[in-house]
């Protein structure tokens, strides 16, 4: 059980700086209880995953009841991780509503130039700043959600025949639970979010204090720098030339925050260095084998070759005990990317030398829960279970726990099977590995493919068939 205090381990270098940002947000800006424990230390998942989103350049969906700090938590994190004053962040946010248009989200024609017969685009603040917040994304009608797909995915914002590319960006979107004014978030957009977290009710006592402490926004505001940044954003110079100017103002604002609040926000070069440090962290064999195992359960179908949302499981299937039986859809290729990226970010944040299975299992439920579509029978079976988390996150945590149990029972055998797969792949005349889990069937498929076609694919000197 958590004792309510946040104990954080101080690390050297940038970890210490990021930890101080975490602590600053937790102590002064976003009051909430810890709800996740990693390596014996309690953290608040909303702040932790928002920080990791900022660090890794990821995409986070924050869900929760109205008024529980979804948007404000994202704003604080963005401000401190990217040195933007809150005023600019507010002015760059896109709010989801049915009348939202591409012109308000991405850019509009430069009407002055258009009158002169020239075509040019005035880009929105949202498309230009590296920290992007879409408030109440599920109030955007489903047809309009498609407008931001490409920008969300790649940082490419296109209007008329022009395009700007954000070489560094992160995205936060908030969503209320379903009510009269919300729409479903379309599957391709949901899949683009790396993680989902819930901004939870902090409890009656903390909530009471929040009511007392108005005015905390002033800590991260600076009207002069806000005006300067707006001036740069509005200026008619090329986007690439605006970036160094924005960074200059951001650095000045960061210095101001350091002096007044005692916390040092991250500069662009800090973030670049952190990302370079993260790149040096690799998954250890257990983390890799476990991730492969869960991916196989989320995608495997013996009968139809892979999971597909349009196909149903056969009665009497041999693989009834695995997740593939409980879900409708197939895991996308973005899932392992999200898992690795956030596990890497977490390992770096904790100052660990590599990514181990605990990093992976800690982030996995948050990367999985919005991507899995459970079968109705699973939902009805578990909806009344006692839990602390939102239903989707609860189901994902249960799923990860179940697969982890299976992994612990056969981790050596699985690593052996993967090592054997590597040897066979390199041409060793060995028998394919045996085992009952879908992952073994996947290994055998890869090997069989290699045995049947690999040599031909790999051999450049092979004669062309006549």
């Amino acid at each position: 059980m958590f004792d309510g205090k946040v104990r954080v381990v101080e690390k050297n270098g940038y970890q210490k700086q990021v930890m101080s940002i975490y602590r600053f947000i937790n102590d002064r800006l976003y009051y909430n209880r810890p709800d996740i424990e990693i390596k014996g230390e309690p953290y608040n998942s909303t702040i932790l995953f928002s920080l990791l989103t900022g660090l890794t350049g990821g995409k986070e969906l924050i869900i929760g009841e109205p008024g529980l700090g979804k948007t404000t938590s994202a704003e604080f994190v963005c401000s401190l991780m990217y040195q933007f004053p809150l005023g600019v962040i507010w002015g760059s946010e896109v709010s989801g509503h049915p009348e939202q248009t591409e012109e308000k989200i991405i850019g509009r024609p430069d009407l002055g130039k258009l009158n002169r017969g020239e075509e040019d685009v005035v880009w929105t603040n949202f498309s230009q700043v590296p920290v992007k917040i879409v408030d109440e994304i599920n109030r955007l009608p489903e047809t309009k959600q498609s407008m931001i797909l490409d920008g969300v995915d790649r940082g490419n914002w296109e209007y008329l025949n022009e395009m700007i590319i954000n070489d560094e960006y992160c995205l936060f979107a908030t969503a209320n639970y379903q009510d009269g004014g919300t729409n479903t978030i379309i599957a391709p957009l949901v899949d683009r979010f790396d993680v989902i977290v819930e901004s939870r009710y902090p409890g009656a006592n903390l909530s009471f204090i929040i009511g007392k402490n108005r005015g905390k926004n002033h800590i991260l505001r600076h009207p002069k720098y806000e005006k300067d940044l707006y001036r740069v954003l509005k200026s008619k110079v090329a986007y690439e030339k605006k970036i160094p100017k924005m960074e200059e103002i951001c650095n000045a604002f960061g210095e101001h925050v350091r002096e007044t609040a005692g916390v040092k926000p991250l500069k662009r070069e800090d973030r670049d260095r952190i990302r370079a440090e993260m790149e040096g962290l690799d998954l250890d064999l257990d983390a890799s084998a476990f991730t492969r195992m869960i991916l196989s359960e989320l995608s495997f179908c013996e009968r139809y070759g892979q999971k597909r949302i349009v196909e149903n499981c056969e009665e009497g299937c041999h693989y009834t005990g695995y997740l593939c039986r409980q879900i409708r859809n197939c895991a996308s290729n973005r899932l392992p990317t999200s898992i690795k990226s956030f596990a890497r970010g977490l390992a770096w944040f904790l100052g660990d030398s590599g990514i181990d299975i605990e990093h992976v299992t800690s982030v996995m439920p948050y990367t999985l829960s919005h991507r899995i579509q459970w079968k109705d029978e699973v939902l009805s079976q578990k909806e009344r279970a006692k839990r602390d988390d939102p239903f989707q996150i609860f189901l994902a945590k249960e799923a990860v726990k179940a697969v982890l149990q299976r992994y612990r029972e056969q981790s050596d055998h699985l690593k052996d099977a993967l090592a054997l797969g590597s040897k066979i792949f390199q041409g060793a005349p060995l028998e394919p590995p045996e085992g009952d889990h879908p992952i073994y069937a996947e290994i055998r498929k890869d090997i069989r493919y290699r045995m049947n076609h690999g040599e031909r694919l790999g051999d450049a000197d092979d004669p062309e068939p006549v």
């Binding site: 690799d282 998954l283 064999l285 890799s288 084998a289 056969q410 050596d412 055998h413 690593k415 052996d416 993967l418 090592a419 054997l420 797969g421 590597s422 040897k423 792949f425 390199q426 045996e434 085992g435 009952d436 290994i443 890869d446 290699r450 690999g454 694919l457 790999g458």
Partner: protein
């Protein structure tokens, strides 16, 4: 060269291992193959035309044949249960003939090393005859579900418990021991029984010509007794 998807495990010290579960499954499958083979041999020898007449000498002979094949197999009570399930649920066993199947299962139970055996027959659509044939002293056989005709005939001191119903000629020729049928029992119950007890939780449809022994219906002694006569149907 195509990308090796297992590259990071290249340096992992590979050692050939097998799951304990795999070993168990393989062993169990090998045992099941031998049990199945014994049953097929029994059918070949005793039910050539897929017809098997229940006569005293055919039962004795079939039991001897079954014993011959069973003696060579090292099996457990769980294997008997698996065999019962496999009788109807796999394509590997081509014919389920209730008589020889019951003789064979009885021989398996009598020769098993365990003293207490549970047979789950409730899933079977066919009621197996002759279950509990010659059940020796010291053995307890519990059957979940119903049994067919000739249940527990010639019991030699063992205890047979049937959780469901039992059909005609139950306990015929039994010498000692106990049969408990939790629900109803058919006609000719205890025909030529020489000793032992039959307890029926439901109704006894008809008693046979009983030489000696006791029959209870809902805990009430009906043989020996005044109210019930041999072959009287109730």
């Amino acid at each position: 060269m195509t990308q090796n998807p297992f590259e990071e495990f290249q340096s992992f010290q590979y050692r050939k291992t097998s799951f304990p579960l795999d070993r168990i499954v393989h062993t169990a499958e090998a045992v099941m193959d031998r049990i199945r083979l014994g049953y097929e041999k029994l059918l070949e020898e005793e039910a050539k035309e897929l017809v098997w007449m229940v006569q005293y000498n055919t039962i004795i002979k079939a039991y001897e044949v079954a014993e011959k094949y069973i003696k060579e197999i090292d099996y457990s009570a769980e294997d008997i249960e698996d065999f019962c399930f496999a009788l109807e649920n796999t394509q590997r066993i081509p014919y389920l003939i209730p008589g020889p199947a019951g003789i064979y299962i009885s021989a398996l139970c009598n020769d098993a090393r365990e003293e207490e055996i549970v047979l789950k027959l409730s899933e079977l659509k066919t009621e197996i005859n002759l279950i509990g044939f010659r059940l020796p002293k010291g053995k307890r056989l519990m059957v979940e579900g119903d049994t067919g005709d000739f249940t527990g005939i010639g019991i030699e001191g063992g205890e047979l418990v049937v959780e469901g119903n039992s059909k005609n000629w139950t306990g015929a020729g039994m010498r000692s021991g106990k049969i408990c049928v939790k629900k109803n029992i058919g006609l000719h119950t205890g025909e030529w029984m020489m000793g032992g007890e039959i307890h029926v939780g439901g109704r006894v449809r008809g008693l046979g010509n009983i030489v000696d022994g006791k029959v209870y219906e809902r805990e009430k002694l009906v043989y020996p007794g005044k109210a019930r006569y041999p072959n009287v149907y109730y």
